[in-house]
């Protein structure tokens, strides 16, 4: 009978790879377009007399709202099928992962279903964002004390 090594090689030979020539440019373009749109929105908000930091916060919240709405309408996954990382890396992807988990677990109840399930996909992102934020904060603090940063 076939051994592990030869069969693993067979699998590798027969399995098609993701077509990076196609997926990378679409992710780059859609992600770039989304960010450009964000910049335009931020500019428009600032023109209304809003502070820089608050203007970007407004954009983030707006993108989260739109991504969640599209998720609830069943359109986000269809867009993401083509855009890939262009939609999943920006905050739109985070919003989608939370909203889609909420939709899936709603029937299991508000507390033990939705409450427990809402961060199943986004949970790791939150955890490691907080951890790495803390870590880099400490490094920055030390460098600042030493007068390097």
């Amino acid at each position: 009978m076939e051994n592990s090594k030869t069969y693993k090689e067979r699998i590798k030979r027969h399995t098609p790879k993701t077509n990076l020539k196609k997926t990378l440019p679409t992710a780059f373009l859609t992600g770039g377009a989304l960010c450009a749109l964000g910049e335009l929105m931020a500019g428009a908000v600032r023109k209304m007399g809003v502070e820089r930091a608050d203007a970007y916060l407004t954009v983030t919240v707006t993108v989260i709202f739109i991504a969640s709405l599209l998720t609830a309408l069943g359109m986000f996954d269809k867009l993401a099928k083509y855009a890939g990382a262009g939609l999943s890396v920006p905050v739109s992807g985070f919003a989608n992962s939370v909203t889609s988990s909420a939709l899936d677990t709603r029937r299991e109840g508000l507390v033990l279903g939705l409450g427990a399930g809402v961060f199943t996909v986004a949970g790791p992102v939150i955890l490691y964002a907080v951890l790495s934020g803390t870590l880099f904060g400490i490094i920055y603090y030390i460098l600042k004390m030493l007068g390097v940063a």
Partner: protein
């Protein structure tokens, strides 16, 4: 030693039915389905309930076709893809017949035929074998939330929203089950849950090789495997041609795969179809009519299953493949 078990008296397939969802209603097999529900919900409040409801509908329609009432049904052998096989128990409780729930992943239909026909050969009565799978429940359980936006791997297979059912009897009918062979658990040497075909191909090869130590492929008209899909099929062909010598060409020429047949010609289906409703419905819609018409006289049905759970894969365990077999032939 694993060998085919030849039934002393054959078990006959009296009737059959298949139901499917929206996507299945767009396939080339769509006209054969007894019922298509474009909402994928089958009038149920959730996709989870719909999975069991499909099995109920399929058994019900199959019974109606042969004019048998619920009371005459002795027992049902059924399975699905949900945790603890809960779809079948919720869907089939209203029959009031004996019930055996099975889990063999996508191989459950053939497993069910083995259990159903061997039990029936010990006694008498009527047995229904049904399996169902639902794309939306499988996505939730094994992959990501339904509305989650991501790109599917090119090697991934699409779980069919479908169910197939057959009614088995000892009374003579056109099509009969004459031999069976339980599957062997074979290490698929992969942890990649988006490449089920690769995880199952080795077990399919093992079953083919073992069975044809006892019989000649020349007597057969069709070898129908479960859901190997494109990748599993090409792996199977390579293994057969390298190891089975002069019989390889004949075996490959007889081979078809339900995972390739169900969504044949449809775009965006990647490596093909899967799910225990896939081989059940393709057998009912494609192979069975061809047997009845006499186009084929003798066939092997070998649904393939990938044995794993979402948790086992996350823990880095290999996915195991299993391929049970039943020999089905024309009795006239």
């Amino acid at each position: 030693m694993r060998e085919p078990i030849y039934l002393r008296e054959p078990i006959y397939i009296k009737s059959s039915a298949a139901v499917g969802g929206k996507r299945e209603g767009m396939t080339s097999l769509k006209t054969g389905f007894d019922l298509i529900d474009k909402t994928d919900l089958f009038s149920m409040p959730s996709f989870e309930r719909a999975e069991g409801e499909m099995a109920r509908l399929a058994v019900n329609i199959a019974l109606k076709k042969c004019g048998v009432s619920h009371e005459e049904l002795s027992f049902i052998v059924s399975g699905d893809l949900q945790n603890q096989c809960v779809a079948s128990s919720a869907g089939l409780f209203s029959f009031g017949a004996g019930y055996i729930g099975l889990y063999g992943a996508c191989s459950t239909f053939t497993e069910g035929l083995i259990v159903g026909s061997s039990l029936l050969s010990l006694g008498r009565g009527l047995c229904a074998v049904a399996t169902s799978s639902h794309n939306c429940t499988a996505e939730r359980q094994f992959r990501a939330p339904l509305e989650y936006g991501g790109q599917r791997s090119p090697s991934s297979q699409w779980t069919a929203t479908a169910s197939g059912a057959v009614i088995l009897t000892r009374d003579k009918c056109d099509v009969m089950i004459s031999a069976l062979m339980p599957g062997k658990i074979v290490d698929g040497y992969t942890k990649d849950k988006t490449n089920m075909g690769a995880a199952m191909a080795l077990s399919a090869y093992d079953t083919v090789r073992t069975f044809f130590e006892w019989e000649s492929p020349d007597e057969y008209d069709l070898i129908l495997t479960g859901d190997l899909g494109k990748i599993g099929t090409s792996l199977l062909y390579e293994l057969i041609s390298e190891n089975m010598g002069s019989r390889a060409e004949k075996i490959i020429s007889l081979h078809r795969d339900c995972g390739n047949l169900l969504y044949e010609g449809m775009s965006d289906m990647h490596a093909g179809a899967s799910g225990c409703g896939c081989s059940a419905s393709v057998f009912v819609l494609d192979a069975l009519p061809r047997l009845k018409s006499g186009e084929i006289r003798k066939m092997l049905l070998m649904s393939t299953g990938a044995l794993m759970s979402a948790g086992s894969v996350n823990q880095g365990e290999h996915i195991f493949g299993i391929t049970p077999l039943v020999k089905i032939e024309l009795s006239r």
